[in-house]
Each structure stands twice: as structure tokens, then as C-alpha cells.
């Protein structure tokens, strides 16, 4: 089964010996990106109207391609000690990456005639855009970035909770101050929350804002609090990245020192 071994080494990024992606996976990445771009563009009626048939055909071809790729991957993973035999394949098929791969083509293979309701059609289109999630399996560097973030997940979660409490309090206070003059925008705390989130994240659409002088004073204070709210996760992430970079540099330096002066390093032990 030399072919299966070659395919496995080509398709599984972790089985590929060299740095970067194998040629086959580079092609797969490009097809995934282009298929997502197509799925995005297709939703625009003024574009879709130009050649509805063509779009449908391309979509069908892409779905078949992804299905073939899925089956080859399933077969080739037999080389992986973890996924040998029928049982191993089932285990492979249940990994998150394989489920995402399956979800990327299955809805398109099922006759699109059933997407008669516009809501179902939109859900179906959303799924096609989600194909981008397939890229996750190909990126190791993304992993390092995400690792640095997840290492501080506790602090980030806390700043999220703190943010939620500030959000709620500012909405409740604005409801107190403005609901009389501005019942449409601030008539209830859930409505005021829309203003709160727009202000504290400094998005500021400007669809609703306080009108009374007291409301404006409080709105200004909320905007200033928003700066602190943004500064906290930024500060946490900045510290996390700074640590991660320093760690990787120390490791590299230690590696260089041990390689350059192997005897000295051995003596030092």
C-alpha cells in the first residue's frame, strides 16, 4: 500500500515531514478559500442573477470534489496508527476536523430543491461560508497564537465578566435617567443595553444616544469607562504575547548555546 502511505503523508499536515504544507494541501487550501469567496459573492442578488446556472454547477462540482477528498482522507488515515481499521476510521470520522469536512459538502450534495424556504436557503449558504473553518487544521502557527491567548483565558474571562457587569449597570442607570424622554430607545433595560454595548465598545452607531443633560453626563462617563474596558483585554493580550515571544526567544537562545558549546553545556550539568 505505498500509494496510501504517500497520500497520507501528503494529506495529513502532521504526517508531512517538511515545514509548511504539502503541495496537495496547498491546493486544498486555495479551493477552500475560493469556494468560500464564491459562497459569499453568490448571495448578492445583483451578481447571482447574472448566471444562476453557472453558480449552481460550480457549487455542485466543488461539493463532489470535497466529497472525493473526504473519502480519500478517510482511506489514507488508515496509515495513521491511531485510526487503523474500521473502528479507527469511525473514530477519525468523529474528530472535529472530519465533522467540519463532512459538513462542508454534505448540504450541497443533498438536492438543493429542498432549500425552497428563503430561511433554509440562507442557513445553507451560511454553512458554505463556514467552510473557512476547514483552514484551522492546516495552520500550526495559528495554534501558537491561540495558545498564547488561551493561556490567559482566565484573565480574559474575568475582564469579560467585569465588562458585562459594567454594561448592565450603565444600561440600568441610563434606563433610570432617559426612559421618560426617550421611551423608544431607553424604555427598558434590554433596549438600553443596545446603547450600552455600542458605547462601551466605542462603536457608536449613533442610532440612539441620550438627549437629557443628565443622560449626556452619564453617557460621557460611560464612554470613558469604555476606554478602560478596551484597555483591560488589550493589556492582558499584550502581556501574553510579550511573554510568549520572550519564551520562544529564550528557548532559541538556549538551543543555540547548547549546539554551539555542547561540551560546556555537558560540563555545567
Amino acid at each position: 500500500m505505498r500509494l496510501r502511505n504517500i497520500l497520507w503523508r501528503q494529506l495529513d499536515p502532521e504526517a508531512y515531514g517538511r515545514n509548511g504544507l504539502s503541495p496537495i494541501n496547498v491546493v486544498v487550501v486555495w479551493i477552500v478559500v475560493l469556494s468560500s469567496v464564491l459562497a459569499i459573492v453568490e448571495t448578492e442578488p445583483t451578481i447571482e442573477r447574472l448566471a444562476p446556472q453557472t453558480f449552481m454547477y460550480i457549487e455542485q462540482i466543488l461539493a463532489v470534489l470535497f466529497a472525493v477528498e473526504y473519502l480519500i482522507r478517510l482511506w489514507a488515515e488508515g496509515e495513521n496508527p491511531r485510526f487503523g481499521g474500521v473502528r479507527g476510521r469511525i473514530r477519525y470520522a468523529l474528530t472535529p476536523a472530519a465533522i467540519i469536512d463532512l459538513a462542508a459538502f454534505l448540504p450541497s450534495l443533498i438536492a438543493p430543491g429542498i432549500y425552497s424556504s428563503p430561511m433554509l436557503l440562507r442557513v445553507f449558504r451560511l454553512i458554505r461560508v463556514l467552510r473557512l473553518a476547514r483552514l484551522g487544521r492546516f495552520s500550526r502557527a495559528m495554534g501558537h497564537l491561540i495558545e498564547a491567548v488561551t493561556e490567559r483565558r482566565e484573565e480574559l474571562l474575568l475582564s469579560l465578566i467585569l465588562g458585562s457587569i459594567i454594561l448592565t449597570f450603565s444600561a440600568a442607570a441610563m434606563y433610570l435617567l432617559e426612559s421618560e424622554n426617550n421611551p423608544e430607545a431607553f424604555g427598558s433595560i434590554p433596549r438600553a443595553l443596545w446603547w450600552s454595548v455600542c458605547t462601551l465598545t466605542t462603536v457608536g452607531y449613533g442610532d440612539i444616544y441620550p438627549h437629557s443633560p443628565l443622560g449626556k453626563v452619564f453617557g460621557g462617563l460611560t464612554s470613558i469607562a469604555g476606554i478602560g474596558l478596551i484597555a483591560m483585554p488589550t493589556g492582558i493580550l499584550a502581556a501574553a504575547f510579550s511573554d510568549a515571544f520572550q519564551k520562544s526567544r529564550t528557548q532559541r537562545q538556549e538551543f543555540v548555546e547548547q549546539t554551539a558549546y555542547p561540551r560546556a553545556a555537558a560540563d555545567a550539568r
Copy 2:
């Protein structure tokens, strides 16, 4: 009084031997969160209208629950050496946490009929949302985050003062430039302050903005100053978190070294 001791260890987070929260406190946290969500949702007239009676009954039950919890806590704190006896209980009742606990249910127990004026009703509702503040006593990790922030309170306060001065100057300058063309928005410095705060925090609702060319030039400069204003607290917090993380890592490392080489550490002393 074994029951009182068990209750104390369950209810007082600082008396609980293990990490995290005791099972009873986990339940209390969830009830507090849900009761706040309910208090938020209830203010929306379109939802409250669906079942006004039900909302009132749930609220009454929650208030009774919190009252019972308050009394049990008061009783159980007798185990705490600091709060023994009647005098100790009074001292406990005057701690900020206990006052917040009391404020969380007292207004709901008092006949809601007195909240006839819409303003009083809104104040009452705000108090119910503030129940979220009860969560403060349960979070030790939040304490670490807040500690890192408070350690830099001087620098943060200074950047706030600096920000206030920039805010005032930009408002005064805009009043100078735009009050003629745009009296409604920039007719006085307090009015211009609303624009200043929206711009310097980069919220930018867009309800008021300069119209004259000179005003736009100055408005652009203010926006750019706003970046600096945001960068300052962000930088301070980033440095504070970076320090806090490094300190906690150094401590952990020292702990590991002392545990791994206890004799060497002892010799070194």
C-alpha cells in the same frame, strides 16, 4: 453546633477549605445571576405585559429566598472568630458585603404598592439589577485582576486628569470655532463637552460634529489626540498586567526550586 460550623464553611468563601466555590455558593451565584437577568428582562414592557403576575410572584419568592439566605449567613458567621456574639453580628451586618446582601432583597419585601410613581419603580428595578454586585464576594481571581489595576491607580488617575484637561481644552476651542454656525451643538462649553467626549473616546455617535472647515481641521486633530488618550491607560494597564504575570511566574518558579532542592535552598540561607 456542628450544623452552624458546616453552614459557615459552606457559605463563607474564605472559610471553605478547597479551591473554588462550595456547592451551596455555586447555587447562590446562579440564583443571583438569574434574578438579575429576570430584573433586566422584566423592564421590557412587551415582555412584562405577557405575564405580569408571574413576574411579580417569582420576584417575591426570590426576595424571600435572599432574606432566608441573609439570616442563615448572619447566624453562621457566629463561627467566625471576628463576628462572634451579638456585637460581632452587628459588626458583620455593617460590612459592605452584608449591606449589599440586605439591599438585594429589602426593597422587594416592602410592599411594591408604594412604587406607584414610575421614577420610584425604576429606582427599585435598578436596585434589583445591582444584585450582581453580590457576586463580588465570591471571586478571588477578580481580586487579583483588580489588585493589578489598583497598584497603578496613581498613573491611571493621572491619565484621567490629563484626559479631563485635554477634554476641556478641546471643548473650549470648539466652542470658539463653531458656536456661531452651530449654536445648538456648540453654543456653550458644556454642550461642546458632549462632542469632545464622544470624539476623544472615539465613540463618535455623529449627532453633532463640526461643520466649518476650521472646525473640521480642529476636530480631526482632536480625533488624533483621542488615540493618544486611549493609548495611555491601555499602555499603563498592559505594563501592569505584564508585571503581575511575571511576578506570579517568578514566585511559582521559586516555589518549584525550593521544593525540588530543599537542602540546597536551606544551605543557601
Copy 3:
């Protein structure tokens, strides 16, 4: 001249022996702050109309107070070796702090009748708000913050220049793409600059924004570039503060070590 010496030590923050501000200067700071608040509030016609005479009288009293303070300072600085004699007083009167002190009361002492033109009146009011700048002389801690910032002035200036170039290019490109459809907003590069600055600083008033699809694509790219533009000064300032804090901590530690083990430190030399 014991009185002059006491006054000098009370009035000159650098001659005051202890930490913080002298009691007299605390009072001066409060009067400066309150006088600025008054100057801000007074510009609001709906408030000024309530008691125009009272506002004018308070203002006159404040101006006289500041004038008296100015003269006492001028006299007391004779104790300062740098400012002795008539020549020294003239040198003192020409320091930036003294000029600001003078500008804070002189326009109010000159008969306000000459501020008949509304423009002159607004300039006069602006000057009164600028009294806040007098606070600068009282804050040493502010000095440390500003020092940390000025140490990186080169990098901050460069990021400002880089930002200006990006600003100009994005305005020029938008002028190319949108001036046909949207001549009022994008009919020239200076007009497009107003959009550019609003977008790159993420203020986003929403008074003008691209309408054509191509303009929106480019507008989106500009918004993303804006994140980088904000990130650069924030990163520079974060690094500056981090350095400043670490330096101050190292100094404190060295101080502690030398104080705790004076002999060891002496031996090590």
C-alpha cells in the same frame, strides 16, 4: 524676613520640605479647579441667564484673588537663590509658569466692557478655562508620566508621520473612487481627509461614508488600517510605561538591598 521665607516654602512646591502639596497650595489648586468649572458652566446661556450679575461678581473676586496670589508669589520668590533682586524677579516673571499665572487673571481685570464682540468674549472665556494649565506646576507625578512619554517622542513622532501619510493616501484614493457619486463629501482631497481622519481614528461620525461598492471595499480596508494606526502608538506607550515601571522597581530594590546589607554592598565595591 521670616514671613517671606515661610510664604516661599508654602507657595513654591519645590521649596516645600515634605511630600505632597503645602496647605496653601491645596487651597490654590481647588480655587483654580472651581474657577475653571465656573468658567465652563457660565458659557451655557440657559445657566448664565439665571444670575448674570452674580457670575460677573464672582469672576471679579477670583481675578483679584489670583492677582494678589501672583504678587505674593513674586515677592516670596526673592527667597529663591535663582530669583533674588529685581533682575531675578523679572527672570521669574518670564518663566512659563509665571506667564500662565499672569494670563489667568489679567484679561478679567481689564474692564470686560471691551469684550463687546461675541468672538472676543469667547476668546476671553477660553482663556479663563485655560487656567487649568496652572495646575501643571503643582504635579510632580504628572512629570514622571510625561517623562516616560517624551522619552519615546521620536517613535511617537514617527508613528504620527506614518499616520499622516496613510491618512493622505487613503483620502486621495477615496477622492479617486467616490468624487463622481458623492461630490459634496469626496469632491476634493481636503474634504476626503475629513472622512479619512474619522475612519482611521475609528471615530466614525457617519456624516459621510462611501456609497459605491468599490468605495466601501476601500473604506473597509481603511478601517482595518486604522486598527494598525491605533495599535502603533498604543504599543509604543505600553512599552514605554513597562520600561519606566521596571526601572523604578529596580531602583527601589537596589535601594533596599544597599540599606539592608550595607556591609556586603561595601565589600562588593
Copy 4:
């Protein structure tokens, strides 16, 4: 050829012996900046109308000046060992800096009569603003800043990719939720992308925003995700600058130590 050597040392920033820019290059920088300001101002019809002839003459003079400068540079580069002879000059003319220099005056020398179409005229004006890019060759300090950024280009690229995926998903989800009620703004994913980019970068023009309650909930979550999206590059850049500053400080310190204790440093080797 002493004149050519002097000119070369004056014109080529890398051949200039001292710090900073040579007097001739300072003049060139100022002319470039002023010519760009002129090119910007000239596009404003209300200004251009005042003296169209004058603007055209100044522009022609500037173009001739830049052409002369270009030819002198070309001649003087003969002193540079890398660009000697005719072949060397051709190699020099193909460097990016020389091409930018050429593009800065060539379109203005070609008879402006051919810019009859308004679109061509705008492209021509854009090119004139791009003269600012000529400044790049004069700034070494800018190089250090850009180096610190490019060293982290992988992480920055990754955060850009991660941002694009979040952008796409939020647009697709909003299309699902709002396209029914709000077909003009959210009728397709490309249209929803305009909202996504405005929200995630916290620009928030406010031309389109969700109207349905579910859309607002999701919009709020997107705004909060936007904070994270901004925090990531900010954190990366902050860490990069922090590293760059520390490195430059360590180098300076090592330099000082080696200069102060040259023997000790030599012994240590």
C-alpha cells in the same frame, strides 16, 4: 570630479557622513512636503478657482525642479561603486526609490492637456500626492520602526487572517438574521460585510445597523468581539516594540561596559 563627489555625499543619505540629513536633502524634503500639500489643496474646487493659472505654473516649476534633481542624482550616483558606468546608472534607475522619483515628475511634464477626462485628471492628482512616498528614502529611524513591525509580520498576518474569518462569519450570521427585515443593508453577505467591518473595527458610521432584537443581540456580541480583534494586533505590536526597545538598551549597555572596562571584557573572552 570633485563636484560629483560632493553632490553624491550631499544627495545620497547613506553617503552622508554625519547624523541626520544633508542641507540639500532637508530642502528636498521640504519641497516634497510642500508640493504634496499643494497637490492636496488644489483639488478643492473653491480654492483652485481662485487662481487656476498660478497653481498650474507652480506645478510646472516643481515638475522641472524634480526632473533636474532626478538627473543630478543619476549623474552623482556614478560615485557610488554599485552604480558606476552606464550599466550602473540603468541599475540605479530601476531601484524602487528612483522609479518613485521618476513617477513624481513625469506625469506633470507630459502636457496636462491629455488629462481631459475627469477620471484621468484625478488619477494624475493622486500620483502627485504620492510624491510623499519619496520621503521614505530619507528616513532611517522609520526603518527601525518598520523593522520592529516586520519582525512580527507572521503574527500580524495571522491576526489579520483570524480577523477576516471572524469578519466573514459575523457577516454571514447577520445576513441570516436580518436579510428579511433589512434587505437593502443585509440582503447579501457582501453587503453585510460592510456592516461587519464597520462594527469590528469599532468605526460604527451608523448608516446600517441591525433592527431586529436578535440582530441587536448578535450585533452587540460582534462589537465585543471587535475589542478582541483590536487587542490582538495592539498586543503583538506592544510586545514587538517592548522587545525592540529592550534590545537597543541592552546593546547600548554592553557597548558602555566594553568601553568602560575594556580589559575585563577582553579577559572574559
